[in-house]
Symmetry: C2
Subunit: 450 residues, 2 copies
């Protein structure tokens, strides 16, 4: 390996430790770390590891929350940090060609000069990689209008677990030439192969934006407003939800300017040419209004917008005051089932005697369910795990699914048999084996052990 | 089979003849026709055919142009005409659940009452089925803003070639729960299994629309305008192109009101709330203007719009005056390569001594290349086939692909090895074998014989 990769092959214990964890706080030492610089090195690496039956675990900047980048079966962590080039930006074709290690934030900066952006905007955008975003099908608030990673990729070049270099898709916005494999690679968490280049779909940047903050008496009123907002023609560019616990936290701990009787809060944003925003905001205000609306504030400029968003931003730091530990999952349900999800989660919270705070991307029915507990307390930890299992079961019962944008990794792997029928799960296993016949690609992730 | 399907099993020669062709004008007699009424019958049928190793060829209304619905290997044509129910429309969740045999047009009518639509709008929409649209990844003019079939499906229930009933995806607009198999099913032309139900992503219907007609001195000027139109924030709801031949035909034969010196024409449309359209049209006019623009007309109401579209509508009937036979292919190239495609096609036309007329969905770089010839003339037929091969090669050289919305079927099957590397094609074969281990699902389509 050293002959192949030179200084891009590390086996020093300190280096291995650095690459042993991700944002899930799980940890496992790899046997080595590889930092390839091009597709040829990646292919040589995969072929050598295939011959030796050594696991490969791809890694961007390990901001994921599911353990997908933790080398639980040992083997080689493949860090893409040296493959961080923006290969090409083609504004007329609305696409960019990038290596997997480029940071989402660096790409957005480069695109801004062309009046374009790439839609995925996870909270981690400043320090997460495009390759990692693609591996998890990352989304963010903008997904409600512009889609998540899977909706914004045109082509992928990858080395499969079989060691083949394949190009999937073309740099065109339409295509009906055989099976759609590039979108299947998105969200596959490195279990099929290693992405070495991606052609991304870009969107012209809106010129302006305006925000509304709507406060409701209760969650059902807010959820009915979400359904009304999503059924009319002006699709909001963000539609974020906070439940009563989240609003209370933002007010009491974060000091946000919010009324006493807020049962739920929606942050609603429209973007587009300034000339449109007046009419768009009027349409969104009309849809937001209805039974249970307590107040509706608008931000007419960027500083007013920042004040409205303060409540949302105060939330994450405030959560830490509730308990030292947090399980943050991102279940999805059909928009119309949000009230059932939030109500059901509060029942689960009461039964577990642990606080659960819900907020997230209401326009997609994608809520972040934050269960707070003390990891040092074995009893609390057990109750937390059991409660999270019940949250997943609830989301599935409501016609939803386990994850909207975080992925499965280790965290939800064992719930996969509840999320789909046995034949579908078996198909996924067979498809994995097609791309990765020896099972060396990120083993133990996404699919439960047979 | 008769015990299983009762009167839904036809073996009469006249009936078999009716189901022997599609819009490609290819023909082959099936051994039987099945018309199942539910998923259980479909599953029983697939299992019986798997045991007997009998091919199954799914069929909507056979409007496809590639031969994908022609039973070239005999076996059973499975017509979905009796599974034509709209199962559910859920406006708040922006989705509809349908059986595969429902007509696209019937669905759109049902959705109109809810202020929603399903984006795919192939020319055949009035008499093509949603299942057929999904099988081919059908698009249409609206795809430039709203996407094609693959971009507008949330979940698919299908019987695989292995006889398993599987549900792929969930009725949510976001999901990161394992491999994305529902989008892989879209565009698979019945080679993986039979779709028995689909959950479709819906979009709120725009309230109004306005059209522009821009005439350019030459194709390069028009293509540069397309790139400018696609690089600014107001995405047109349609962006249709006609080359000089198409414009000449529309003028001379169709009687359209067009100037003498039109080298190319763009039909540009914006949709949205009436209050926005003035500003949107201004942005589109600004992007359409530039070197080589001859005239720019706008339609301020629906009747003026119809007059502008008359040139485009006059085109298909006018084509028939050129020659009795037509090969209509739908290659795609990156938008910036449209001039190279159109110029290259004219070189191919000159060399083949056969007229080729190009028009289509410029905003996606998806052009319909219409090669006109006399099928009764063996020499012309041979030159036509050879010329079409050169058109595919050209599109691939320009970074494009074989099909944007028609699919591969029989027509382009043998060009697949030119469109992708051998390892990618081999992956597709292996994936097909995973869904369809005995090769009974629409054999001979999409993938070339090994």
């Amino acid at each position: 390996m050293r002959a192949l990769l030179g200084d891009a092959w590390w086996t020093d214990p300190d280096e291995r430790l650095t690459y042993s964890y991700d944002n899930s706080r799980r940890q496992a030492l790899p046997d080595a770390v590889a930092l390839p610089v091009d597709a040829a090195q990646v292919q040589a690496l995969v072929r050598a590891c295939r011959t030796a039956r050594v696991p490969l675990v791809p890694r961007g900047r390990a901001t994921n929350t599911t353990g997908a980048a933790v080398p639980v079966a040992g083997g080689v962590v493949v860090s893409m940090e040296r493959m961080d080039r923006i290969v090409d930006i083609r504004p007329g074709d609305r696409c960019a060609v990038v290596q997997p290690g480029v940071l989402n934030g660096a790409l957005q900066q480069a695109l801004a000069g062309h009046g374009l952006f790439w839609p995925p905007d996870p909270t981690s955008a400043a320090f997460s990689t495009v390759g990692g975003n693609l591996a998890c099908n990352a989304g963010g608030p903008r997904a409600v209008k512009y889609g998540a990673s899977r909706d914004n990729v045109l082509a992928i070049t990858a080395v499969t677990g079989a060691g083949e270099l394949v190009t999937l898709g073309t740099a065109t916005t339409k295509g009906s030439t055989g099976y759609d494999l590039q979108r299947m690679f998105v969200g596959s968490e490195g279990t099929l192969g290693l992405i070495v280049e991606a052609t991304l779909r870009l969107v012209p940047a809106p010129r302006d934006r305006r925000a509304l903050r709507a406060i409701y008496r209760d969650v059902s009123s807010a959820a009915r407003a979400v359904a009304r907002l999503m059924a009319q023609p002006v699709t909001p560019s963000m539609l974020e939800f906070m439940d009563a616990h989240a609003v209370g936290l933002a007010r009491h701990v974060g000091g946000a300017d919010l009324p006493d009787d807020a049962g739920a809060l929606l942050m609603i944003e429209a973007d587009g040419p300034a000339a449109h925003l007046e009419a768009d905001l009027a349409a969104l205000r009309e849809a937001a209004a209805g039974e249970g609306l307590v107040s509706l504030d608008s931000a007419d400029d960027e500083s007013a917008r920042a004040r409205l968003w303060a409540a949302r931003k105060a939330l994450s730091p405030a959560l830490r005051t509730l308990a030292p530990g947090k399980i943050n999952e991102d279940v999805v349900v059909p928009v119309s089932r949000i009230p059932d999800l939030v109500d059901g989660v509060q029942d689960i919270s009461a039964a577990a005697r642990l606080p659960i705070v819900c907020f997230g991307h209401a326009g997609n029915g994608n809520l972040h369910v934050n269960l707070m507990y003390d990891p040092a307390d074995a009893d609390q930890s057990a109750r937390a795990r059991e409660a999270m299992g019940r949250v997943f079961t609830l989301a599935l019962q409501l016609g939803g699914t386990l994850s909207g944008e975080h992925g499965i990794g280790l965290a939800k792997r064992d719930f996969m048999p509840r999320a789909m029928g046995a034949p579908t799960l078996e198909l996924m296993r067979q498809l994995k084996a097609t791309f990765d016949p020896d099972g060396i690609m990120n083993p133990g992730k996404l699919l439960p052990p047979p």
